[in-house]
């Protein structure tokens, strides 16, 4: 049995990348995920664990089972194509942050107890924010700050929940927790919920991810939310409330995605929509649904990574990622276009692409559990995904009208990274048995039958037909330079504006009090000046020196008086 927790490989790589430059560093960055992946595959089998003790607490830094291993493989794959994509980057802090972030994600999914989980939970937050700050813009700096506040808050809730849980149960082991664990359960649930981008807790994602660097967003999209999905699957499988939350997450972001102009923000909304499918799967809690949830996390990291990479390549070459300013880029970036289309077909769950083989498991599970209305809503969300991520992203970036922008094809390293992801999208879609073999629960499921393929193809083609029809009728909303209000309005506008108003109000109140009092005093003075007493100037014109003189005279007199009294007595 192996004794080395896999996250150490990434932390070592982070350290080494601080001291190396050029080719050696590039080799380290690409080799680390490969070595870690092979090590997980060959060196760690389900059932491996490694404990350590701190201050009398028995903590488990490595607990491997099929669930954690699946996410372990996934994170190695994501950091592999993420590292290739970022090979041209010279900025050392981004490489350190990327490797630490990937390592923390691995650490988190292999944590056997809540304290170890908490440590990696916070490391995820701290390492990832540098990928936003590294953009170097004023906006990125502020968005990163807001992102960090949310992430740290999530960590604090997790720690509080862990301590209450320990108090109640006497154990810190991270297994099924459930909401029946009371306060502890809810604290941990909300901590997971923040990282999972539950509705109203989601704005750190749509705010932060589009402001990150070109390469940073690829890393960001892979780890944080998927660690949260893993944690929910382990701690809260079968909680019915998750079905409601998941369906909401799948539905509301697609409306925003349709009217959003920043194409990386469109992808951020669609990320929440995809996580919604996973959360729903976890909430249903049957073996098929849970398998569907984690399988969809697996496909999502790869196709969402591919889409973020293709949009990142556009941003890198053109310097702009607003749908309103792009168009016609297929002429100068044909390879990026083709790779983006593969990602778009995968996220839309076309048969033969990866989204199809994983999302259909969640849909089938909803049907098996007879959740008719939820199923209809999720079908709506499926059509909506195709509409905003499947068509809108490639259409407005690469086709549409010719924006006149002529640029170069994406750099080779980016094309290689995107090709790796595109290959995996197709491979998983066409040969799903390999992914299914890795799934933690025993289920006999096969997605390719006449019903599924026909139903899904119809749904997607007629969604596309709606797009064509709306465009021909001129009903499709144009891309506009704009910001759409979301839950962040409460803390970015309402609270600051409220505070501003309160401060203003207090300032005005103070000013009016001061004016009133001054006026009263002046009025009294004026009254006094009119009175006969005003003739007697009192001390008005006396020099200060004379006052000092008279005071010392009085004091001297008192002194003499006291002495004389003493002498007499």
């Amino acid at each position: 049995m192996s004794e080395l927790p896999p996250f150490l490989l990434f932390f070592a790589a982070a350290l080494l990348s601080a001291f190396t430059r050029g080719l050696p560093r590039q080799l380290i960055l690409v080799a680390t995920p490969v070595v870690a992946g092979l090590y997980l595959w060959q060196g760690i089998s389900p059932g491996t664990d490694l404990a350590y003790s701190v201050m009398g607490y028995e903590l488990q830094i490595l607990r491997a089972d099929k669930l954690s291993l699946l996410f372990g493989y996934l994170f190695c794959i994501a950091s592999f194509f993420g590292a290739i994509y970022a090979l041209h980057v010279k900025d050392t802090k981004q490489h350190i942050a990327g490797m630490t972030y990937a390592g923390s994600a691995l650490g988190a999914v292999f944590s056997g107890d809540l304290i170890t989980l908490f440590i990696f939970w916070e490391l995820l937050a701290i390492s990832s924010v540098f990928l936003i700050w590294a953009r170097g813009t004023e906006r990125a700096l502020k968005a990163g700050m807001r992102y960090l506040v949310y992430q740290v808050l999530s960590g604090v809730l997790l720690l509080a929940g862990a301590l209450v849980f320990y108090n109640q149960t006497g154990t810190l082991e991270f297994n099924h927790i459930g909401l029946e664990a009371g306060v502890a359960g809810w604290l941990i649930f909300i901590a997971f919920g923040i990282k999972c981008a539950f509705p109203f807790l989601h704005t750190w994602l749509t705010d932060g991810y589009p402001e990150a660097t070109v390469t940073g967003t690829v890393f960001l999209s892979a780890f944080t939310t998927k660690v949260a999905v893993y944690s929910l699957a382990r701690g809260f499988a079968g909680e019915e409330i998750l079905v409601y939350i998941g369906v909401t997450m799948a539905c509301f972001p697609i409306f925003y995605a349709v009217i959003e102009n920043d194409l990386r923000r469109v992808l951020a909304y669609s990320l929440i929509n995809q996580v919604g499918f996973m959360v729903t799967g976890v909430g249903i809690g049957t073996a098929l649904a849970l398998n569907g949830a984690v399988a969809h996390a697996f496909s999502d990291v790869i196709f969402k990574g591919l889409l973020f990479m293709s949009m990142g390549a556009v941003l890198y070459r053109v310097g702009n990622i607003n749908g309103s300013d792009l168009g016609g880029l297929y002429k100068s970036m044909p390879k990026t276009t083709a790779l983006c289309v593969i990602g778009a077909l995968s996220i839309s769950a076309f048969p033969l692409f990866s989204g199809f083989v994983s999302k259909s498991m969640v849909m089938t599970a909803l049907m098996q559990e007879n959740h008719g209305y939820f199923w209809l809503l999720m079908l709506f969300a499926s059509a909506g995904v195709f509409h905003h991520a499947g068509i809108k992203i490639p259409y407005f970036a690469f086709f549409h009208h010719d924006s006149g922008i002529r640029t170069q094809e994406a750099p080779t390293n980016m094309l290689v990274a995107m090709s790796v992801a595109a290959f995996l999208c197709l491979f998983i879609g066409m040969q799903p048995q390999y992914l299914y073999a890795l799934l933690p629960w025993e289920v006999d499921y096969w997605p390719y039958d006449v019903t599924h393929v026909l139903a899904q193809t119809q749904l997607l083609f007629f969604s596309a037909l709606a797009f064509v029809w709306l465009n021909k009728q001129g009903l499709y909303p144009p891309e506009l330079h704009s910001v759409n209000l979301d839950a962040e309005w409460f803390y970015r506008r309402l609270i600051p504006a409220g505070t501003h108003r309160t401060v203003n109000f207090l300032a005005r109140a103070k000013a009016s009090v001061v004016t009133t009092v001054t006026n009263q005093i002046q009025g009294a003075q004026a009254q006094f000046d009119k009175s006969p007493l005003a003739k007697y100037h009192l001390s008005e014109s006396w020099p200060t020196g004379s006052m000092v003189f008279w005071i010392s005279m009085i004091l001297a007199f008192l002194l003499l008086d006291i002495f004389s009294l003493g002498l007499l007595a």
Partner: protein, 84 residues
């Protein structure tokens, strides 16, 4: 001509766009026809409706876009709304 250098790309020709759309419409029709011929398993009652998925997909997307457009009236602000 000033843009001699600029190659004519595939979708610069209207006939190519038309060809693509015609192929697309043909597939849509084919899918509906297939729905009438092939047997689908039925999980929920509403699935019994012929071409249920086609109708649902079309209606869902039109609704999505119409509602999203309406949302703009309430939610849309200038690009530097938060920077002011």
């Amino acid at each position: 001509m000033s843009d001699e250098k600029e190659k004519i790309h595939i979708f610069d020709r209207q006939e190519n766009v038309d060809r693509l759309l015609k192929g697309f419409y043909a597939i849509c029709i084919l899918l509906v026809v297939l729905d009438l011929i092939l047997h689908r398993h039925i999980g929920f009652v509403w699935e019994k409706l012929p071409a249920f998925y086609a109708i649902y997909g079309f209606v869902a997307c039109v609704l999505l876009v119409v509602i999203a457009k309406k949302m703009r009236n309430v939610l849309m602000r200038g690009e530097d709304y938060y920077d002011e």
